[in-house]
């Protein structure tokens, strides 16, 4: 009756943990070498496990990429949902989240974009990639009644991310916030929360 992880977790829990480790290793590879660099071997090396263990949890490479994209998207949508539920100045929260992409999470954001591009070509992945967009839309709906404004905010959010990544611009939350407000159509002196 040891008290280390192995004994207390149970097989099912440990299996789930391994799965998560492999997904994390996959994301690390995507961050470092891009989606094209993802192979069972590179992932296994990153995770410090034999190749056959990677194929044990993800029979095909496609399964692995799907799982990685799902994981990334769920994490992102969770953050947006948190802003929607707990934040008064939602647009500001969104701006900070976007700006953060340029800071510590730049490579991470790049990986997300790469995986989302991958999703455009795989119908099975489209619903997943679409989800974060729906969450941003829901956030925007709390700030305006205009459908066009909602669409503009969603599109601008995506475009701002891309701009920050490609232009390698500094992710200034204030600047991003100003642009989002512009897309929202609010007057600077009369911002709706």
């Amino acid at each position: 009756m040891g008290d280390d992880d192995r004994s207390t977790d149970g097989r099912k829990a440990r299996g789930h943990k391994r799965r998560t480790e492999i997904i994390d290793a996959t994301l690390a590879v995507v961050q470092r070498d891009g989606a094209a660099g993802v192979t069972h071997r590179t992932v296994a090396k990153e995770a410090g496990i034999p190749v056959s263990l990677s194929t044990y949890y993800f029979a095909t490479l496609d399964d692995l990429l799907v799982a990685a994209l799902t994981s990334v998207t769920e994490a992102y949508t969770a953050r947006i949902r948190h802003i929607i539920d707990n934040r008064d100045d939602k647009l500001r929260g969104l701006a900070e989240l976007i700006a953060e992409s340029a800071g510590t999470g730049r490579e991470r954001a790049l990986a997300e974009r790469e995986l989302s591009t991958l999703a455009a070509r795989r119908p099975a992945l489209r619903p997943i990639a679409r989800r974060w967009r729906e969450h941003v839309a829901e956030l925007a709906q709390r700030c305006t009644d205009s459908p066009d404004a909602v669409t503009a905010v969603v599109a601008a959010s995506d475009g701002l991310c891309a701009a920050i990544l490609i232009d390698n611009a500094p992710g200034d939350p204030g600047y991003v916030h100003a642009v989002l407000r512009q897309a929202l159509g609010v007057q600077p002196e009369a911002t709706r929360q």
Copy 2:
């Protein structure tokens, strides 16, 4: 003194033509199978030429992808420039260009996005990918004096493209135009050309 293409073109011109053919074949492969499907062999097969001919014009696979991205981006920026120079209702022209992505050019637009994502990871390609963004900005500057509005339009343009591609939405020029106007911050009854 023949009058067929081979004789009149000269060696240099024919070489350039071959180069273009290979680039087009590359874009066709990207459209069909994505950037990951681009290999010297698939491109050569698509172009109907032996593999070694592809490597003759593009020593490495990277050279080929760089050339393909450059070609795509130049074509796109040329169209934007045409709108800037010859169109009165510039925002409308931009909207139509974006909406067109969902119609006949959907696969094409998808290829462009894929290649642009590729560019985010290769510093050498960033200036090229950035160029179309600068052109859109220039277009927007003809419609407003607000820097934030310009940024919003550029970001929204990119985001709208992505939305159309991923959500597979219908590319309605009127709708796109409305959203762009929203980003621009003009009132529906007082559109500044």
